[in-house]
Structures are given as C-alpha cells and as structure tokens.
C-alpha cells in the first residue's frame, strides 16, 4: 500500500517536473526579433516605442525590438514592403500611394490621431489663412509633391479653390524655422509638434495654418506592416501593437519622463525642445473620444479622395485592405 502510494507520488512528481521544465522551455523561448523603421530621427514622437522598450513591455511580450531612426533619405514603406523591417512608421497618404504601386503594406495603428502637419508664417508677415498664400513663397519638400506635407498643402489649396499657380512653390533646403527667418520663403511646411515648439527657443512668433482646419486631415504617422505578416503571424502583430500602445499609454501618463528617455536614443536631441514637443503631442495622440491608436474611416476616405483628386492614385483602393483597427481594439 505504502510502496504503491510512493510510486504514485514519484510518478506525480516526475509529471509535474516535466511540465515545469516544459513551461521553462516555453518561457525561455528565444524572443521574436522585430525591427521597426521609424519615419524620422529619434524624438519624443516615438515615445511609446521607447517606453515599451524601457519598461520591459516588449520583453513581457517576448519581443526583441530594434528601433531604426529615419531620415529624409529613408522611405519607411519601402523598407517594410521589401521586408527589410517588420514594422515601420509612415504617413497615411504615402501608404495609400505605396499600395497603389503594388506594395504589400497595411496600417495597424496611428500614433497621432490628429494630423500634426502645419503651415507656418512669421506673425509679422500677416499670412494667416491659405488665401493669403497667393503671391507668396510657400515651401515644399519636393516638386513632385510626393510627401504628406506637400500633398496636404496642395489638397488644402484645392479645397479652397486656390490656383496653385498663384502661389510660388519653393523647395525647402534648410529644415527648420531658419527657412522663414532667413527670408528664403514666406510659408514653411512642418509638424506642429516640432517647429512651433521651437518658437520660444528661437524667439519667433508664428502664424499656424492647419490643413485639417480646411478639410484636409490625414494620418501623419501610422504604424504599418506587411499584410503578409498579418496573415502569417497575427499573434506577433498583436503582441507588438499591444506592447506599443501600452508604451504610448505609459508615455502619456508619464509624459515628463519621455524627453530624457528620447535623449537616451539620440544624445544630439535638445531636451528642452523634446519637452515642448511632448507637451504638444499628448492631445494629438489621445483625443479622448476613442482609444489611442484608433484610426477613423473618414480620415482614410478623405485621404484617398484627396489622392484621387490630385491624381497620386488612379483608382480607389478597398480601405479595409489599407488599414485595420483590429489589433488596437484588442488592447485593453
């Protein structure tokens, strides 16, 4: 009786230990390596990624995430489509254009719910509304208008029935407010989270003209990946998005920590400027009406319509193949 009992006990113990070792091998499994191509240089714009990394949120999802900073030369959607990276940050318009060019790419979340794209003029210039652009020099990034800023500028002018020929388009050669203060142009195109945050630092007064106030609203920094990856490894996408959204939740709740964290990724960053940027970002990321990261159909529809109007794309694309909120919705 006793020997039999001890045999059972022994077998039980062996089973438990094998189960435990099984668990151990699962948890000890190599983390999934994930690379992310950011849309621009390191900054608090990507605070959620930094927070997820620093707070161990990625590790908790068994992810080993590498964040690659962007630059004017790097085209994130191309990096994604060519499988050089797993995820990337890119503009909604660029994504649609890339799709029309046959690239395999799909938006799974947005960082900013409101577009940060803004046109700036010096306060003393008197340029306050788009009609004031007529006869003035307005900065663009490319004569092909193939970037979010240029597309939105153009779309805005068209929504207001302003003939772009009446506006003198000047290619921006110097990034920053220097283009305005130097007199190189009258209107400069940028991000509301960037240049306006520098006004105090650079001691200039700006008039801000937002394309979204004129019916032009696009997502400036969506998180995208290949639809192939979504199909093949939806749980990986889910884990990454969940961790990143949680990273942004942390970033919003602890906004004051973020500037320092960003500086850890790029020591050239100006801490004061990062602070101002972070402050400006909060309301762009969390609009309060829907969970952060959520994309609105109407924004995508408008974006597509503008791109169709401006002939960047020739045919409309099924938006359900362009973006999805399914991963954001799974986040608590």
């Amino acid at each position: 009786m006793n020997t039999r009992l001890s045999q059972y006990l022994l077998i039980g113990l062996l089973l438990i230990s094998s189960l435990l070792s099984g668990c151990a091998t699962i948890s000890a499994q190599e983390p999934d390596k994930v690379t992310v191509q950011l849309s621009w240089f390191h900054s608090v714009e990507f605070a959620g990624f930094y927070a997820a990394q620093a707070q161990g949120i990625y590790s908790a999802e068994n992810l080993d995430v590498t964040l690659l900073p962007g630059s004017p030369e790097i085209v994130p959607h191309r990096e994604i489509a060519e499988s050089k990276v797993d995820f990337g940050v890119t503009g909604g318009d660029s994504l649609l254009i890339a799709r029309s060019q046959g690239m395999d790419i799909k938006a799974v979340a947005t960082i900013f719910r409101r577009s940060p794209i803004v046109l700036m003029s010096l306060a003393e210039s008197g340029i306050k509304t788009p009609p004031d652009f007529i006869g003035k020099r307005v900065g663009i990034f490319s004569p092909a208008f193939d970037n979010a800023n240029d597309i939105q500028l153009l779309a805005m002018l068209r929504r207001l029935n302003i003939d772009e020929s009446e506006v003198e388009m000047v290619v921006i050669e110097e990034y920053g407010l220097g283009s305005l203060t130097s007199g190189a142009m009258d209107v400069y195109s940028g991000f509301s989270t960037e240049e306006p945050s520098r006004t105090d630092l650079e001691n200039v007064q700006l008039n801000l003209i937002y394309p979204q106030d004129y019916g032009v609203q696009m997502y400036a920094n969506v998180i995208a990946t290949r639809s192939q990856l979504i199909e093949e490894r939806p749980e990986l996408v889910e884990r990454f998005i969940r961790a990143t959204i949680k990273g942004y939740q942390y970033a919003l709740a602890n906004a004051e920590e973020m500037p320092e964290l960003a500086v850890q990724y790029d020591s050239n960053l100006n801490l004061e400027f990062q602070r101002a940027s972070m402050l400006a970002e909060v309301a762009m990321i969390d609009t309060g009406d829907v969970p952060i990261g959520t994309m609105d159909e109407i924004v995508w529809e408008d974006t597509q319509q503008i791109l169709l109007d401006q002939k960047f794309i020739s045919t409309s694309i099924d938006l359900s193949t362009v973006y999805t909120n399914e991963f954001v919705e799974k986040v608590q």
């Binding site: 940060p116 306050k128 906004a255 909060v282 609009t287």
Partner: protein
C-alpha cells in the same frame, strides 16, 4: 537582592547602570513580571483604545470629507447641467430670432452675391450673442460641406470642418462635442451644434455651432465653499485636458492633461466614485469624481489628505499624548505597587536566607494587615518555633552530655574506689549533685536476713536513715518490688502507684526511679532515685541509671572479693611468719652453736659476742653503720656495720662487722654486705629446712621423740662459718660476728 541598591551612584556609570538595571529587572523576578504584565496590559489597553479611536475618527473624518466633497460635486454638477442646457438654449434662441434665421437661411440657401452686407449683419448677430450671453467664445455657421460661411471670429471664416465630429453630428441633430483639442486653437474646446433646417424643416441646410466659453465653468468650479484650504474642484475632458482653472500655479487650463486614478476611473469607466489617490501634482488627496454624461467630462472634487486628516492627526497626537501620559502614570503606579508587594518579599527572602544560614534570632519587621503581613507573621512564628526547638534540643543535648559525663565520672569513681562504703557514698552524692535529684539512696540485701538495708543515702535524710538502720522487707514498696522482680521501675507520678510508701523523711517525692543492682542472677540491692518534679525521669535516664547500677553491682562484687582476698593473704602471711618464728625459736634449743665470731685470730664459735649496733639493726630491721666513738673496742678505735638477717619478715639473726675507723665503708661494700646477708639468710633457711625435712622423715619412720636431740646442726654452723669467714676476708674486718636467734631471743643479750 534589593532593587534600589543605589540608583544614583549607578547612574554615574553606564556599565554600572546597566548592571543595576539588569539586576533590578531580572526577568524571572516577580517584580519584573508584575511590572511587565502591568505595562503590557496598560500599553495594550492604551493602544487598543487610542488605536480604535484613531481608526474610527480616521474613517469618520474620511467619510465626512468625502460627504462634503460629494455635496460640493453634486452642487456643481447641477450648475454645470444648467450651464450646458443653456448653451443649447441660447444657440437655439439665436436661431429662433426671425431675422437671424432668415439671414442664416438666405446665406446657406442662396449664397448671396452681396456677401458683405448680409454676412456682416449675421456676424453682428453672432457677435452680439457672444457678447450678451457670455457663453460662447465663438458662434459660427457651416454649410453642408462644413465650410464656415459666417463667424463671430472673422479669422475663422473659410475653414472647413467637414471631417470634424461636431459637424458630422450637427447635420443629424443638436449635439455637444466633448472636449476636444483643436491644434489651430492650440487648446481644448467644447462645441455645441444645432442643425439649420429649411423652411419646411426637412432639409438640413447647415450647422450652427457655438464654441463654449469656459469662463462660466471656471466660475462654477472656482467657488471653493466646502473645499477647505487645499481643496479644489475641476473638470477634465475625455482627452484628459484640464478644462477649468487649477488653484495651483503652473497648471494651465486646456493645456494640462491629467491622468490620475480619479480621472481614469470616471473617464474610462464613466463612473462616479471616491477614493484616496495622488492628484495631478502627485499630492495625496481625498477625492470624489463624477462623470457628467451630457458634457462628457469628469468633475473632480479633491482635498489634500494632510488637511482632510489634519483634525484626525491632531486628535491622534493628542490621544497618543494622553495615552502616553496615562501609561507613564500607570507605570509609575505599577512600579510603586510592585515595589510595595515585592520589597517586603525581598526582605523576607533575605531574612529567610540569613535564618537558613543559622541566624535564628532575626525577626521580620513587617506590620501589615494583608497577605504579606500574614506571611511575615507566620514566618516569625515559624522562626520562633524553630528557635525554641533548637534551643530545647541544645538543652537536651547539653543535659544528655552532662548525664553521660556524670555517668562516666561515676563509672570512673566506681572503678577506682575499692572501699564499698566510700564507693556507695560517692555514688549517691555524685548522682544527687550532678542530676540535682531530690534524693538518691542505695539498698543492699542482707544475705542472711534477705532484707533490704539502706546502706547509703544522699543528704541529711540519707544520713538519718542510715543511722536508723532503715531497712525494707523484699517486695515492699517500689524498692522492695524492684529487688523482688529484678527489673527497673519508673514512676513519673508516685501518687499513682498503689504500693508506694512515702518515707516521712522524704515528703516531697513526686517521681521515683529504682533500678536493681544485679550480679548475674543475683540481686545485690537497689539504686533508688527520687525527684520533686512530677513527670521527671526519662527512658534515657532509666537506661543510664541501670548502667550505673550495673557498674555499682560489679564494683560491689569486686570490693567484696578484694576484701576477702586481702584477709586471706594477711592470714597466710601471718601464718608463715608464725611458722618461721617458731622454727627459728627452736633452732637455739636444737643447735649447739648459735653464733660465730671471726677475728684476726681466727674463727671461733661465740654464742655471746655482741656489738651494740646489732641491737639497733634488729629494732630498725635494716643495715646500721656506726663509728665506734664511745671507744667500746678494747684495743683500738673501730667502726662498723650491723645488719639483721631477715627471712619472710622475721628476724632470724644478725651480723655485725667491725674494722678500724680509718677505713671508711664504701657504697659497694654496703651492697655486697646486703647481698651476702640475704644469701646467708636463705642459705640458713635452706639448711634448716634440710635438717627439718631430715628429721620429719626420720620421725615418720622411727617415731621417737628422744631422737630430736640427735638433730645435727652441722649445716647451719657451716653456713655461719662460711659467712663470717668470707665477710671478714673480703671486707678486711677486724671482727665479724653472726648470731642466730629470733628477735626476742637476741634481745636478751
């Protein structure tokens, strides 16, 4: 042992202090345990009471603060609802004005070419409303495309809000756009919209919107009645923007974003509630939060916990102070109480230790009526009893030792004194004086009559009784029966004894002890002891007296034996001497020559020669030396010695030796003379005995009296000749005389 060895000196040195404390508060002492228990009970009670009170007042206070905050929040919520309702009412009232509606409709429907006038009028209407009501920052009108075609703020004209929720919703019906951040305004705004219908009221022509002026909300929220010094009420939009002013500097409304437990609960879960949490400054607050669904904002009323619980803390500190004071008082009382209880015990223990060490004379000086007093009293009586017991014991040991010593003394006397009368006298006197008896006497049995005769008694009574020749028949009285039964008898109270016969000379006798004097199975007498004290005599005394009696018996027997032996010996000696005397008396008559004289001329029988010194030697029975001063010697002056011949104590002759005076007698010569004399006496006796034996034998054979004459004296004469010859020769004496005869015979010379 004592708690307060010397606390003041102890405190002078930390080591000494700690030692003192250690000794004073040994864990296993009653004092420490009492004190610890007392302190524990007091502290526990104080803790429980003040803890419960503090907790209760903490909860009460929290509830009170929360209730107050709740009341404030509810009041403000009502005000806000009114304000919100008024927003829409005012907007609708504006549109209700016929001329305004007309202008709006024509503006929307016809887009009149003469923009300037119509638009200016409309914009004036809008501006007036903004100004009059004060509820709006801006009122604007959008066409169906979301384009602003008229606004109280001219700069806003031309904007397109087609994508904005307020426009989309406004097409459907009245709507309040929750707090939303608008980058162009760089702030969060609340926008109220109503649709503008055509005359038929079916087709929506556009949307009229009012951007709320939050100043009035500020006024509502800034009213801080019931919020205390650190309390505030504020509104937070869905996008976490602080909509109203903070009472603390550095938090700009509409640009500050708040994510606290309060805002998260109310905005995420759309709940009302309350709690303790960190506010947006990171300060601990008591807070009440309410979700306002109409405006889609959270209303928070908070108060710093420091202020909220200040009263509690003050009360707590006061309570702790009181509790500590009470504890201190109780501990002090406890200290005195325990000292009051334990100090006498410690003293008692100290005294008990000393008593244990042998100091029985100590008395505990505790005069209390409580248990300790009783204990002390019991202890004292116990010590007293112990003391009495030990003293009694010592006394008894002393008595016993004395008795034994007396017994030993008497034993010694018994063994040393051979005279019976003296012995008995000594014994009775010793017993009487040593043991302080009333009377001691000894009876001996008269062997011939069998009566008990009082042989010796102590004191006058003893003497008188002895003089009277007091005697008792066997079997009468105590003494008689003891002699009869040969067993000791002890009567502690003689009055109880039936056959007690009181001696008139001994009237005080109360107790009597009588032991037989036994020699084997023979009873020699009785040792009788009497006491004046009732109940005197112990078993030990009886045993002792019996042993003394036994010794007396042995001594008596010994003395009797000795006396009879002595008598026999004296008799024998007398007989011997008589025989010797007789034998030698007859010698003279039976021998021819009874003396010889040796001179330088030779040896001749001389039965009549004599020297005067010889008389003296016989009478003195010893050697006599003399110098012939009287010139008795015929020839010349001479000196000499005379020595008797003694046999078995009887003089049988005498020897005299003379020589010239110039030759002195040496000591050696004296010794030689004595030795020779002794030998001569023995030789003479031997010669006589030989002759007597010869004669007896002969007589036995012949049985003839006449032949006695034939008795030869040859041997005797030979001995005498040899003796004088030798003495004369050896001592170079001028004359040596030997004469035989008894003292009486020789005295006749």
């Amino acid at each position: 042992m004592k708690i307060d060895d010397n606390p003041t000196s102890a405190s002078q040195h930390p080591l000494r202090l700690s030692r003192w404390l250690f000794r004073s508060f040994r864990v296993n002492s009653i004092r420490t345990r009492l004190l610890i228990t007392l302190v524990f009970v007091v502290v526990l009670t104080a803790l429980v009471i003040s803890g419960t009170a503090a907790l209760a007042s903490y909860w009460d206070r929290q509830q009170y603060v929360l209730d107050q905050l709740e009341a404030v929040a509810v009041a403000k919520e009502t005000e806000i609802r009114t304000w919100t309702d008024n927003l829409q009412i005012d907007l609708e009232a504006l549109l209700f004005q016929q001329d305004v509606l007309l202008r709006v409709r024509s503006q929307l429907q016809f887009f009149v070419a003469d923009v300037s006038r119509l638009q200016r009028d409309l914009e004036e209407d809008f501006m007036n409303t903004v100004e009059v009501t004060g509820r709006f920052e801006e009122i604007f009108l959008m066409d169906r495309e979301g384009r602003v075609i008229a606004s109280s703020n001219l700069e806003q004209k031309g904007k397109i809000f087609s994508q904005e929720t307020f426009f989309q919703e406004g097409l459907k019906g009245p709507y309040i756009q929750p707090a939303t951040y608008y980058p162009a305004l760089d702030k969060t705004s609340i926008i109220v919209v109503i649709p503008v219908f055509d005359q038929d009221g079916k087709t929506v022509l556009g949307v009229m919107a009012g951007r709320a002026n939050l100043n009035h909300l500020n006024k509502i929220m800034i009213e801080r009645t019931g919020l205390g010094n650190t309390g505030e009420a504020y509104l937070v939009g869905l996008n976490r923007a602080l909509l109203t002013e903070s009472r603390f500097p550095g938090y700009q409304p509409l640009k500050t974003y708040i994510r606290t437990d309060g805002t998260n609960k109310s905005l995420n879960e759309r709940l009302n509630g309350e709690g303790l949490y960190l506010d947006y400054r990171g300060v601990q607050v008591v807070g009440v939060y309410r979700w306002l669904p109409q405006l889609q904002v959270a209303l928070l009323a908070e108060q710093g916990q420091t202020e909220a619980f200040n009263a509690v803390y003050t009360a707590l500190i006061r309570d702790i102070g009181i509790a500590l004071g009470a504890v201190a008082i109780f501990v002090t009382i406890g200290l005195f109480m325990t000292r009051n209880i334990t100090d006498p015990l410690i003293d008692l223990a100290g005294i008990a230790n000393q008593v244990a060490a042998g100091n029985l004379g100590l008395v505990v000086d505790i005069s209390r009526n409580d248990e300790i007093g009783e204990l002390a009293h019991a202890f004292n009586s116990m010590t007293a009893q112990l003391r009495g017991l030990i003293e009694n014991l010592e006394e008894r040991i002393h008595e016993r030792t004395q008795a034994l010593e007396a017994g030993a003394l008497i034993s010694r006397q018994i063994t040393t004194i051979l005279d019976i009368d003296e012995l008995l006298l000594q014994v009775v006197n010793s017993l009487q004086t040593t043991f302080k008896y009333y009377h001691v006497h000894i009876y001996l049995i008269n062997e011939s009559t069998g009566e008990l005769v009082m042989r010796e008694g102590s004191g006058d009574a003893g003497r008188q009784l002895k003089a009277q020749g007091h005697k008792l028949p066997r079997g009468r009285g105590i003494v008689g029966s003891v002699a009869e039964r040969a067993e000791p008898f002890l009567a502690r109270d003689v009055n109880q004894i039936a056959n007690f016969v009181r001696n008139p000379l001994l009237p005080k006798t109360q107790a009597e002890l009588a032991v037989p004097l036994r020699k084997g199975k023979t009873i020699l007498g009785v040792l009788d002891i009497q006491s004046e004290e009732l109940g005197d005599f112990s078993e030990q005394e009886l045993t002792l007296m019996q042993s003394i009696a036994d010794q007396i018996a042995v001594a008596l027997d010994n003395a009797r034996l000795f006396q009879s032996l002595q008598a026999t010996a004296a008799e024998a000696e007398e007989l011997t001497r008589h025989i010797t005397r007789q034998s030698w008396q007859e010698i003279g008559s039976r021998t021819q020559t009874t003396g010889y004289t040796f001179t330088t001329q030779g040896l001749m029988p001389a039965s009549n020669d004599w020297l005067p010194a010889m008389d003296r030697a016989i009478s003195q029975r010893s050697l006599v030396q003399y110098a012939d001063e009287d010139g008795r010697s015929p020839t010349e002056a001479a000196g000499g010695v005379a020595i008797p011949l003694i046999l078995r104590g009887e003089v049988i002759g005498v020897i005299g030796i003379e020589r010239p005076v110039e030759r002195k007698w040496s000591e050696d010569e004296m010794v030689t003379i004595e030795a020779i004399t002794e030998q001569v006496a023995l030789a003479l006796d031997a010669a006589r005995l030989a002759r007597e034996t010869e004669r007896s034998a002969w007589r036995d054979q012949v049985v003839s009296e006449s032949t006695a004459q034939v008795w030869s004296s040859a041997e005797l004469e030979e001995v005498m000749r040899a003796a004088v010859a030798q003495l004369g020769d050896k001592l170079r004496a001028s004359e040596v005389i030997i004469r035989l005869g008894t003292e009486t015979q020789l005295a006749q010379n």
